[in-house]
Each structure stands twice: as C-alpha cells, then as structure tokens.
Symmetry: D2
Amino acid sequence: MHRVAIVGGSGFAGGELLRLLLGHPDVEVVQATSRSLAGRPLHQAHPNLRGRTDLRFSPPDDLLAADVRFVALGHGETAADLDRLADGAGALVDLSADFRLRDPGRYEATYGAPHPCPERLGEFVYGLPELHRDALAGATRVSGVGCNATAVNLALLPLARHGLIERAVVEVKVGSSEAGGRPSDASHHPVRAGAVRAYAPTGHRHQAEVAQELGDFPLSMSVTAIEMVRGAAATAHVFPTRSLDEKELWGLFREAFRDEPFVRIVKERRGAYRYPEPKILAGTNLADVGFARDEASDRVVVLSAIDNLGKGAAGSAVQSMNLMLGLDETRGLDFFGLCPI
Amino acid sequence: MHRVAIVGGSGFAGGELLRLLLGHPDVEVVQATSRSLAGRPLHQAHPNLRGRTDLRFSPPDDLLAADVRFVALGHGETAADLDRLADGAGALVDLSADFRLRDPGRYEATYGAPHPCPERLGEFVYGLPELHRDALAGATRVSGVGCNATAVNLALLPLARHGLIERAVVEVKVGSSEAGGRPSDASHHPVRAGAVRAYAPTGHRHQAEVAQELGDFPLSMSVTAIEMVRGAAATAHVFPTRSLDEKELWGLFREAFRDEPFVRIVKERRGAYRYPEPKILAGTNLADVGFARDEASDRVVVLSAIDNLGKGAAGSAVQSMNLMLGLDETRGLDFFGLCPI
Amino acid sequence: MHRVAIVGGSGFAGGELLRLLLGHPDVEVVQATSRSLAGRPLHQAHPNLRGRTDLRFSPPDDLLAADVRFVALGHGETAADLDRLADGAGALVDLSADFRLRDPGRYEATYGAPHPCPERLGEFVYGLPELHRDALAGATRVSGVGCNATAVNLALLPLARHGLIERAVVEVKVGSSEAGGRPSDASHHPVRAGAVRAYAPTGHRHQAEVAQELGDFPLSMSVTAIEMVRGAAATAHVFPTRSLDEKELWGLFREAFRDEPFVRIVKERRGAYRYPEPKILAGTNLADVGFARDEASDRVVVLSAIDNLGKGAAGSAVQSMNLMLGLDETRGLDFFGLCPI
Amino acid sequence: MHRVAIVGGSGFAGGELLRLLLGHPDVEVVQATSRSLAGRPLHQAHPNLRGRTDLRFSPPDDLLAADVRFVALGHGETAADLDRLADGAGALVDLSADFRLRDPGRYEATYGAPHPCPERLGEFVYGLPELHRDALAGATRVSGVGCNATAVNLALLPLARHGLIERAVVEVKVGSSEAGGRPSDASHHPVRAGAVRAYAPTGHRHQAEVAQELGDFPLSMSVTAIEMVRGAAATAHVFPTRSLDEKELWGLFREAFRDEPFVRIVKERRGAYRYPEPKILAGTNLADVGFARDEASDRVVVLSAIDNLGKGAAGSAVQSMNLMLGLDETRGLDFFGLCPI
C-alpha cells in the first residue's frame, strides 16, 4: 500500500480526490488537511464520505510523510510554498494552475503577473495521461489539468496532432462546481439556477493550456455557465487545413483513442445519447468524444464531455498517480457513471 | 376591438399566443381550435389560463370570421390548406416554417422537398419587426419566425447590415419547449433533465432564415439542448471583415437598436447579469443583446437571449399583428420578465 | 395617481414589489431605497427592470412623502424605526415579520425575544385580503404575510372557518428565493441545486401566523427546501372533526373561494396538472387550492400552491394596497402565469 | 463466479442491476434480455455502460441457466409466467410488485384484482435485508421492494418495531425515474421539469408494503413528484404512543441501525446536510435516516432518503442476492455517492 496525503482536502477537488483515493485498492490515505476544519471528520465537508472512514482533517502545518502528496490549494499557494509542500513527499501532484504552463511568458500573459518561481516550472509534467503517459511514468512533480482545457484538448487532439486545424472556435458549457466551494453573489442559487451565463465569452485562462499542449493555431474559446453542477461539454467548430471526409475522420479519432482506457468515441445515428453527454459521466474519469461533419462546408464539429471534477481534475490526477507509481493506470477509477441521472 | 382567432391552439406556441391575446387590450379572441380538445376549456391544454376565460376549444373545421387569424399547426399543414385557412380572415399570421423562406430553392434545400405552392411564398412578410417593420404595416400575409433564427438574426444584425461579417460561428443553447408539446423518448424527463445534448451540431434548418435575412456570409450554426424549458441563447463568434474597436462596436449596436422597443443592449462590467440571460426573459417579447471583443484577436463575440416562445414565436407574431392593424406595436406586450426565476 | 415608495428595494420582495408597482395603472413609484446601491439604476439589483424605468435607488435616509410606503427591510428593522418609517406616509405596508402577530406573547414564543414595541402590534392589519378584506379597506397600517403561512392559511381556511379540523400535518415544499438575496454556504448552487433539504422539520416560525389566523388546533408543520427558485406548495393532511364526503368538501371549498379573484380550486381527474402546481404561478398573485379525500380513512389532503414572492409577499401587499386605497383589488395584478415553464 | 441473468434488462431497474452486477467481483452476467433491443449492445439502452461489456441484449425467450435470475418486467408479467421464468434458475429475484405482498387479500385491495397465483405468494421473501436478513440467507425466491415503501419502512422501523407509533403521516418526495422509462404526457420535460406534483395525495400502493412489514398502525402516505431524477425522501410525522425524549430516540435509532452496513443516521446541528439528502445517495445502496423531535408536542419527524433505483430497487436486490449466495452482503455495493452533485 502506497501512502498518499491531500493538502487542502475540504474543497471540491480535494473531496473528489478523497473519494477516489479512499476507494483505491493500492493506496492508504494517511492525511487530509484543512485549516478551517482541522480536527473535524471528513464528512463535515464531504457528506458523501460519512461512514466511509474515521479519518479527520488535520491542520495544514503538520504534513506527514507520504509516497504521493496531492496539493489542492488556491491559486498561487503552491508556488508560494513549494519546498515545504514537497518536503517529505516521494512525489507531488499539484492541482492548482501554478505549474501547468511550462513557459514563464505564457504564464504571465495568462495570469497577469510573473510566476514567483519560474525556474521550477520545468520540473512539472502536465498531468494528462492521454498526452504525457510516458513522462508521467515515474515522475515526481506533476501538475493537475484545467478542466475546460481538458475538454478541449481531448476534443481537438485527433486533428491537432496531425496539424489539421486551421482555426477552431470552441464553446464550453460548464457546471457550477467549476467555481469552487465558496459562495458568492453569482453562485447564489436563485441567481445561478437555470442560468445561461456568458461567463467568459473571450479570454478564458485555460486557453493557454490548449495552446501549450496542442500548438498555437488560432483558437477562440468561450465558456458558458449553464444549469449543471458537475460537467463540462465542449462544442468545437474546427475549420480544417484540408477537407476531411467521414471515413478519414473516423480513422483519426480511432487512432487517437484506440488504446485509451478512459476515452470513448460517441457517435450514434439515433437515440437521445448520440453524442457525448456530460451528465452520465458524473463521478467517472471518462472523456467522451464525438464529431459531426458539416455537409455544407469543410467544418468539423467535435463534441466532448467530461466530469470537470473527474477527468478534469481528480480523476486525471489519480490516473497520473497510478502511472507515477507504476500501477495499472485504471486502478481505483472503475466507476462508469449513472444513467438515468 | 379587433377579432382574432387561433387555429391550432393547443400547442406551446398556440398557448403563448392565447395568453398574450387574452391580455391584449385591443383584441378579442373569438376562437381557438383544437382537434383533440374540441369542446374542452382552454385550461385543459394551458393550465395557466384557468379562470382567465370561458372560451373553449372549437373544432378546426368551423373557422369563424376574424380580423387576424393565427395559424399554429404542424410543419406543412398551412401550406397544404392555405386557401381554407385564409378564407374569412382579414389577415393571416402563420407560425409554422411553411412560409418563412421566400426562395423556393432555399426551401427545398432546407426542408428536403419542393414547396407545395412556391408561387405563394412571395405573399408573406417575414414577421420580425426589427427587420420588416415597414412591410408589416398593413400586411395581410405574415409568417412567424424561427426561434433560433431570431436569436441569431438579432445578434448579428448590427454587424451584418454593414457587411462587416466575414465568417460567423454560432452556438445556440435551447430549452425543451423548442421541441413542442408531444412527448418522445428524447423528451422523457429522466433523459432530458440536465442534458447537454448536441441536438444539431451542424445543419440546423433555421440557418436558412439567417441567410435569407442577413445575407450569405459563411455561417456555422450549432444547436445544443440544455436544462431549460423556455429560452434560447446564442453565442455568436464573429470574425469581422475589418478590425472593430470597442467604441465602434457600441456605436453599431446602439444604432441598430436605439429605436427598438423590445431589444436591450446588455453589457455590464460586473454582476451576475453582465450579458444577456434568457431566464429573466421568460414570458416577454424582449431580446437582449450584448457583445465582447476579444483582446487577443479581431473576433467579436455577440451574445443574445430570447424567450423562444416569446420573441421567438408568439411575441413577434403579436408585435407583427400590432403593426398589421396599425396599433402601437408594444400593445399587449408589456410583461417585462421575472427575477429571480 | 397615488404616490408609492419602497424602503428596502434591492431584495427579492422589494424587487417583486417594484415590478408590480411599476406596471400598476394607478400608482407612481416615487422612490426605492437601498443603502448599498444608492444612486444606481434599479436594474443593478433587478435585471428584469432594465429599460423599464429611469428611477435609481435613493439612500434610505431621505424618505419622500408617499400615499403608501412599503417597507421591505430585514427582521426587526421596521420595529426599531417605526416612527421614522411611517412619517410622511399616508399608509404603511411592512413586509417583514415584525407586525404580523398581534399577541406579544405569541411573538416572543415565536421569535425568542420580547417585541420592542408591543403596544404598536394592534395597529396593524394582517395583509391577507382573503381573511381581512374589510379591515384592509382604508387601513393605514398593514403587515405583509409569511409566504409559507399563506400557503397553509389558504389551504386550511375552508375547513378551519367551520371548526372542522381536529389535527393537521402540513408539509410545505419551498424554493430557494425564500431564503432571500444574500448568498450563504447553504445557498451555494452546487449545494442547493437538486436538494431535498429538511429545512425546518419542526418549529417553523410561520406556524404562529396560521395559529393566529385560523385558530389553535394541533398543527404540525414541516418545511422542505427543494429544487425550485420561486414557489411554495403545501400538502396538508387534515384529520377532520367528523367525516366529510366529496360533495360536502366541494361545497366548503367553493363557498370559501367563490368570490375570491385570486384563488382557484384545482382538482381534475386527469392530466399532469390535476392539483395545484406552483411553477405555473410564478409572477402571479394567484393561490391554487385543491383537495383529495382518502377513501381509506377520514383524512382529507389539501394541496395549495403560490408564488412565495407573489401571493406570499409582494402580490398580497399590492392587493392590500388596492383595498387600502379604495381601488379595485385586482388592479395591477393581472399576470396569469406562464406555461410551459 | 456465480452466473447471473436479467430478464427485462432495458428498463431503469434493469439498467441499474446491470451496472451493479457488471461491477460485482463475484458474479458474471451471462444474459440480459430485451424484446425490443434483442441483438443490440447494452449501451443502446444504458449509455453509461458503453465500453463496459461486450454483452448484447438477448431475446426474452431464450433463457440461459443461471445461479440467480433477476426479473425486471412490468406489473403482472412475472406472476403470469412464473414457472418459465424460474426454470433453469437456481434462485429468482423478482423486482416487480407481483410477489411483494404475502396476503392475497392485501394484494387484491391494493392492486384492484385478485392475484393470479395466490398460492405462490408465500414462497417469496421480501427482499429488504434490514428486515429479513435471516430469511434471505439461502432463499431461492425473493421479491424486490417498492422504492417509496423502502424509504418509509426504514424511517419508521426504529419506532415501529417497539410498537411506539400511534399514527404516522408520511410525505414522500420522488424523482422522475420512479415512473419508469416510457415517455408520457406527464413525463414530457417541459411539463415535468420543476414540477411539485401531487402524484398520489392519498392511496399510494406502496403503503401496503409498509403495513405488511411494520404493522397496521394508522398510516397516511402522500407522494409528491419534484424536480429530481433519482431519489426518494420521506418526511414522516410520527405521533408516538408515549412521549419520547431526545436521548431515548437516539437509543432507538442506534439500536436499529448499529449493525446495518447501508443505513446511516444523519442528524447534525449545522451545515447544509444536517438531515438525509437524497442527491448524495445517487448510485448507492445507502439509506440515510435522521429525526427531529418537536419541542412543542410529542411529534417526532423522521427523515429518510434513498436512491429509488438503488436501495429502493436494484441495490437491495443485489444485497439480497449476496445473502442468498452466502457472500458478504456488501460485495459489489461499495459506491458511496458523489458530492457535489
């Protein structure tokens, strides 16, 4: 049994990590920290964990030795405290945005300030196994992924890896859990319920992760918050560099995902679930990807869906951990989702 | 008081027409027909009308004389029976798609079959007052509008009228009432609830109405069904023919909508309602339009929101009727929407 | 035109009052106050009012003379400042709970502290026209109603007025707008969405208003928060003092509500809207009431539905104002609700 | 590995059984039948199972030998065909209502017609392990449970087993999946969404299962359909035979559920999850139970929540199967639910 710990265990990503790791057959959760809930049982923050464990939150200052330490703190907190957070940990997985971008210039352009320790950026592997499986094997510094970036990266991967994208316009529909666990005027239920809110019509920060991972083709990305708690769904309008027919598209998608345990191609001729649908992915590490070719033009519309807290955060982190530890990468990630839901 | 009648009064558009016309100060509803509910009170189909009127559905074969007759039947039914439906009516407003497209070729390309009476297409005015106010004044044949087409037409109008659109990619988010009142496997609540369904990733029929009204620039339009009953919201990514700065954009939008009683420009710096939000438009004839300029490119993202049954159907039809009858065009359309909702 | 003003105009009840009063044909809104939004347009708090008025929020300290002043402040604020709030107002309608209970002992038992000015309690008429129509005519001090109390009072009135209730057990299902406009951990969308939360399994404060208005029969009242923004629906299990057959029940309900312009009896044999349904009442001043007799016992189940912000708050307040001013009591309250919604 | 089969595998209960059994470490699913989908992959009916198995639906007439055969057909179908359905099966678990009631008179009173094979009723054990654990061990005929009955049975068990209930009034809030997989006018999304529908204000059939299992105290049960897909939540107002203080109540609930692996007592002083909440139980076999004592009377309000497809159907069936086969009863049921959701 590998010893794992979570620093910042009371938020949504921390809770999902705890849920996955408590059910993982090869690890033991030795610690979950929370400043505000130190000493309290985990179910005070995560009511679904009631009866699942006797573990209580520990204060964030007493970090126990662990084989893998996950950090799920707020923006900038990992970078500000990296040495202490890494001390005593065989490996570190940071779920924040602090170490996702390798290039300091891109970081500054995206987050509006220079990175506090740019020389450390290169230590981290971007924790999306579909893109960095080899580098993750045995890695000791891994960054988690942006949820919306992941929905887009997996949608565009089959075409981008062959340089087939001339331009892409992507609209991502997201749930309310993306904004985290802190209430705000905008997250107040009477306001947020039933919303179709142009949260980021332009300039979403995750766009930088797509550019880093897939290359710098022109990408226009919008994020719209809709009535949903978990889930992210991308509609990617791709203008290809050359005409692609249905058969070639099938080939490209199959080639990209044939060996991926967590990516499914969803493209049916009929039924209510013809294309990826995020609701049936809640709790899973799956990414569903499909496509439709516009008969009237060369445009290809690629659809993708994930659970933003699963494949878009904790799921990919656990899958990365499996690779880091040399375990089968599907261990602990066998939940396949509910339907109806 | 003008006498108005509704043929096909038991569906969603018919119900919204009834609600609006029963509250209209200048008209009297003399008849609402329904084949399946003939003889039954209106509230059997529209429970919100309980206690509002003593009118009962009449059989569809006995059409009473009326100053304006609205037809809200299924696809193809108006075209198949136009003379009878128009007989005894001072003016006709057809809410189906039968007479929206003036060009028979465009109709056939869109609906997959030749129009049954192409020579009659030219008789009808497209019933969007923001585009055809003058022609609607005194018109006796008017077609209703496509709901998604309306969300897109009003979003793109300020740029399209000046030939400023090189290419547009539009994603429309829609509610379940768009699919009408008949249950199906796909509309079954456990299936449809919480869905983010790529209903028409390519090739939505309403695209033809945009092309007709705004011109044939390259337009890629997707429709996604989300958790919502009423409402349509468009996110239109416009690649302009030349760079447009913030000030010029404000000027274009103000010029387009300055005198429009039902279009509001919504573009705030903060708050949860910075951009158009369809939920607060339920029951109204309003269209909210806003825009965001992408700092990193020339792209302009235009956002619009309507009630698909209001401005996208019955509301525009009543506004058109007001113009047809020489009434103030806002009569009977003074509901401003609810918040919170 | 009567001059009306709203003190505390930025909350949910204040916003609904503004919406109703701005559309009321016989009144002019001269003022709406807000401490935090003074000087800002009304649509900063109530986006549905955008374009509806040029009025801006005024600071709460400069109260303009008004024929009727509505007060929609927080618990205890009206009682603490009654003289100032009443000064310069022909009549006062207070929407808080401060003056709903006439008996100081009942107030203290309910709110856990003595009333600050118990001698003033008797000045106020309880603002539910269905119970106090005569006293409201010409009244100058009126209290608003509790929303859940109203759902229960109207459900039980037909039986209670004849002393036919031996015991009642009432479960009220409520929406998130009941908790007001301030965000909290419990109102955070990812937490509140889809909830079935035993908000007050026992001891809801509104129970005291039912006891005051209908008498002190044993009443057990629970409040459950469900996925809904607006609306309250009561399921009242009544154990009658004697057996009541279907015909007698119909007679009792018809007698109670025959002349009520805003109460509808809803009891159908088939269809999806056989009994009261709150969603179609959003925005209205309607209360729908229905009943079912348990074949297997003497129990009668009475169902009622209202919009908590309408008949349960601002709607009843405007109806009361109409009576106070000698207007037709339905003026300004003619919105009949949307369907589908 | 035990061989299990499902007859009627395309409905909601069948799908949930498949999901659980495909993930069960000690069984192999040898067959799932469907008349309409014979030959098609399981994910045509259950999109969450895509990629989970190569199994396809088989026609209902070719039943393979199995250690346990689950039957998830419509009302009356099992009773009409019991011998054939049981043939070749080591044990049978029927999820319909056909064999839940042991007493033919109760069956007829509840379902309005005599049971077709009343002599077989006694063969079946009622499949709720919390009530019939011993009888289930080694049983070969087991009936599934009614979902709403289960929410009520587990809520009332701690008091009923000691004869402490003089009268109970129970309101059950239910999701749309309770009505099954077939669309109807009432399940049409625009109609069902946001509903608070008095589905069965009196006379719900599951009441008979409560009477059978807990005894014939006066029970008034109402079922209200709310906005939810999965889940059932009971609010049970219990009038006890004698006064019960908080301490005694804790003792009774702890005694009842101390050794139950799937029942949790949920009763917190603060937070948004103080009492049972069905949404966090989706996909689990858990039942959460809590209570509140009315300070002002002897009434005790007991709250319970389950997943109607889990503990209320497929979960209890699998737990029963585990007992029947002599397995640890928690095998295959270790999913603990999601939060947020």
